[in-house]
Symmetry: C2
Subunit: 611 residues, 2 copies
């Protein structure tokens, strides 16, 4: 076990190695942008799928819808630009919403974000697999397995302590930017020379007509293009000083790149009338049209897949960190704050990986099926974060505060409208799942905090006055299964700490007790042995009753202490060959409800088998 | 939990209710014959499937092959008739082979029998489902689920303490006998009136020609008709006195009934040239031909299904009993001898049910796929049992011993030949699985006995001389996670049994130790507190090292005793919200190899949370 762990995860690291490396802007862009930049892969696809049902009349709307989304992108980017100003030490949605709007809005944002991270991982992985399966159609049938393999790889790398800030992560990002921007430039030149394609010729059959609902749905689905835009505002402390200005500049560059990629690809697709087949993404079809089926096409698909896998990885950086913050605030299990051997939040990574894997399986590895769940959570977090910023500026005042409030307010309203459109138009297709999950998650988070608060109260030393306790000699009871070497140590230890020692034998068969008593007297003539008959062949219940009865009779204010001779086999499988009576007794004493309040001390005296 | 258990299983029974009811011959036949009588359902089917590949020429061989198997049946029945004479208190194959041939042959027979019981259950259940699915073809697609449902039902009934000796079990047996014998009589009359059917007309396509291999394979598959014949010789003590003569008479009646059913059905099938479709059993096709598709036909199918389910139930009587005998001989885990609440061997029932369920799933609920695994084990047990009887007569001598030896010897040789035919001709189809499993099981059984013997030696008091031990004051160590109420009881208990008490705090973050020490001094200024730094954030390893170091320094011949303040949540789910540190420490101390030989006492002082 530990060898396998060592190979996969690596050897433990000392806590003192825990410090963030600072990043220059080039590296920071690579670290924080993959999720945002790669969003075009699924956003474009969703816009296409939303409009294609209305044929060429529908598809001709992709350009205006794309522009509307780009407008929203500019607004949200500008809002987050201001968030960086307001929270130069890092302002995640949870922090901003909780500080400015109160605990409940903070928890709502946190729930939305947790769900968002999970869906980012699931959507990015399945979209990455779709990119590569478009190039190699034989892989289409194995989408679930492939997505799970990528997930396993990312999980292992993260457990090893891969940082999103490493050079390794930067390569796919710049590779993607370089190959995609080159293709778009080449595409614009060719489009200029060739003139527009004819959509109507390729699309005779339509199942729907263009109407408001269709447009709103498509807009809602396309909003996924904005996911990931908030990443930089969470990671400001990782920048080289001056942190905030560097972060702002990087955000601006990222937003511009997002805009170019999105508008460029969607514009070319419509202008050249590109329509993909059933087992191909729209971006793959565009690349095919522009580059043919040669090496350049495969480069594009590979770079799309790589950046999507890296984008999934950003969830593995964000989710465990947010979970640890929530756990420190008592909203999640404290185990989420444990740093593993490699100084990462192991439990958060494993939890994310587990849930993402389930999502991939349940939704059949299909990005399109996952998308309706996705945007609701992300945009809800946007809205709360922006609304929090409005309150922030109002509180802080300072230069231009009215203008800043106005920008963030506009961002809040725009994203709120988007939330409503998304929730309404995608409700039946899956948004209801997220809308149900968020309040459920909020309920759980609050309950966890209530539990921890209750525990803290019960553990508090505040009202405790430590009076010197009267030390009575403890009454010890040793349950024995027979007269054998395993009980010798238990008897000796018991006699070393108390004069009041009784052995007890639970008699399952008539007459067995008498035989045991004879043997017992041979070895320990001075120690009393109680024989308790058990007509129903249970060991636990008669023993518990015997202890209760003994306590009642003595009425000395203390509970009998159990001394358990425990039998430890040399190999784990040997455990299967023995009744785990000692374990059952302990479990019964600790966990049976009727013994709540009784806090009976148990002394384990192990007897190790040597073979 | 306990309410569900109560509803499904019933309330516990006292050990004193444990006594077998005695059976008259009518009830005994019903109790012990279902497996044997129902064998015709799958044996006929296998003979048909074995021959149909050679078309009508092949199918015309079913009659002679059937007769050969009937001859073997007579011989084996006569052999077991003698076993009852020789072992009037019950002579299962394991007992007879072990006493007369030695331990290894006994264990071989036991392994073969255990596998045989499992396969009886699996084959009977799937064949029962096939009978009812022949009547209702819509069920054919749900064979696995149906078989598993029947398995669940039987398991629950057996856990409740259903006896194969109950009246409930007798109804399906006599219902089956009555309906089948009536049909056969009616069939013989009709066959006499109508004359023979024409096979050749129904069978144009053949894939194989008749050859020796085909005949041997078919004979091997048909030998499954004999399974269950040994049941009566195992159950002699359940008969009314005089037990042995009553048992012999019952065996004779059963063998005659088996012969009539087998020869009758196979003869009619061939004479009337009955050929079933793809989703129908041959017995169902025969019933269809004779009775049409009316009520009478459904009666036949229902009775077939019922007796097969009851036959599966005989495994649930035999397997747990044999497992308990083997466990008492140290060959299986001792838990197999535990009588459950309802005075049945729960663990044996659950083990059988679990393995049978897996077989049904793995083999797709298909009787025909299971059959090749089946007969090998059963016939191997027959052979060993008969060979054991030869030795028995030779040892005992007495009246006619040479004749008796001869009969059993003939039985042994005939069944041995059958084993060889079955193993050879069905090897590739699945017999290899059983042939591999038997030695594996033998290996496991011997290893288990070796373990128990080793344990008994290690536990033996023989070479122990109990000198009065010198009672040193134990050195107690209390690991604390902080200064809170949960540690108060632990500190008080420790101080009540020893003067040498140290608390220890494992410091995960720099500086935390100093804060804890300040608080500690406030409450327990006189108790020493050790602060142990843990740069790799593990709690277990630094603690174990601290204990080892303390023992080394004191060198007083005793090991430090651990006093663990254990935190017991009010509800199980709250356990998920806490690091289970106390549990991990205990597991590490008890099971880590490097602490083998160290037998460190652990004192658990629970602190129960109230909410």
């Amino acid at each position: 076990m530990s060898i396998i762990k060592h190979l996969l995860i690596g050897s433990p690291l000392s806590t003192h190695l825990l410090q963030e490396k600072r990043l220059n802007k080039i590296r920071a862009l690579a670290a924080f942008s993959p999720d945002a930049l790669s969003s075009i892969a699924y956003a474009n696809q969703e816009i296409f799928l939303g409009l294609v049902v209305a044929g060429s009349a529908g598809l001709s709307l992709s350009w205006p819808i794309g522009l509307a989304i780009t407008g929203l992108l500019v607004l949200v980017a500008f809002s987050y630009y201001q968030t960086i100003q307001g929270y130069p030490t890092g302002g995640g949605s949870y922090v901003v919403a909780r500080r400015n709007l109160g605990t409940l809005p903070g928890v709502i944002a946190a729930s939305a974000l947790l769900i968002g991270y999970i869906l980012t991982a699931a959507v990015s992985l399945t979209a990455g697999v779709a990119a590569i399966a478009s190039a190699f159609p034989a892989l289409w049938a194995h989408r679930i397995i492939l997505a799970l393999l990528f997930l396993l790889l990312i999980t292992l790398l993260n457990l090893r302590g891969l940082r999103e800030t490493g050079t390794l992560m930067a390569i796919p990002v710049y590779f993607f930017l370089f190959s995609y921007l080159s293709m778009l430039v080449y595409g614009v030149v060719r489009a200029f020379i060739e003139g527009p394609g004819d959509l109507s010729s390729t699309f005779p059959i339509t199942t729907q007509t263009v109407n408001t609902v269709l447009v709103l749905r498509t807009f809602a689905a396309g909003c996924t293009a904005l996911t990931g835009i908030e990443a930089i505002s969470n990671g400001i402390p990782a920048f080289h000083p001056p942190e905030a200005p560097n972060a702002r500049k990087t955000l601006a560059v990222m937003a511009i790149l997002m805009g170019i990629l999105f508008v460029g690809s969607i514009g070319l697709t419509q202008f050249m009338a590109v329509v993909p087949g059933a087992q191909e993404t729209v971006l793959s079809a565009l690349a095919h049209r522009l580059l043919g089926s040669g090496f350049a096409y495969y480069i594009i698909q590979a770079s799309t897949m790589l950046i999507l896998v890296v984008a999934a990885n950003t969830s593995f950086a964000g989710f465990p960190r947010l979970a640890a913050i929530l756990a420190a605030d008592n909203f999640l299990p404290h185990q989420m704050t444990n740093l593993g051997d490699r100084l990462v939040f192991n439990n958060g990574i494993l939890a994310l990986s587990f849930v993402t894997g389930i999502l991939i399986i349940v939704f059949g590895g299909d990005t399109h099926a996952l998308i309706p769940l996705f945007a609701v959570g992300v945009f809800l977090a946007f809205t709360l974060s922006q609304a929090g910023m409005v309150v922030h500026w109002w509180r802080v005042r300072g230069k231009l505060w009215i203008f800043k409030s106005f920008v963030n307010g506009l961002g809040a309203i725009a994203t709120l409208v988007a939330v409503i459109i998304i929730a309404g138009s995608k409700f039946v297709e899956g948004a209801w799942i997220t809308i149900l999950l968020i309040p459920l998650l909020i309920f759980i988070l609050y309950n966890i905090r209530a539990h921890y608060r209750g525990v803290a109260q019960q553990l508090s030393m505040d009202s405790v006055s430590l009076k010197e306790p009267i030390h009575l000699q403890p009454r010890l009871v040793i349950p024995i299964s027979g007269v054998h070497r395993g009980v010798i140590d238990a008897v000796n230890f018991a006699c070393s700490i108390s004069q009041d020692v009784t052995a007890v034998y639970i008699e399952l068969e008539d007459g067995a007790g008498e035989r045991i008593r004879q043997r017992w007297l041979q070895y320990w003539p001075n120690l009393p042995l109680a024989i308790v008959p058990s007509p129903y062949r249970s060991i636990i219940n008669p023993l518990l009753n015997y202890l209760d009865e003994a306590d009642r009779q003595h009425a000395d204010g203390q509970l009998s202490v159990l001394v358990l001779p425990e039998f430890v086999p040399a190999h784990w499988w040997q455990g299967l060959l023995h009744n785990q009576t000692a374990w059952l007794i302990k479990a019964a004493l600790l966990y049976r409800r009727r013994h709540q309040g009784f806090q009976r001390v148990i002394i384990d005296v192990p007897f190790h088998l040597q073979r």
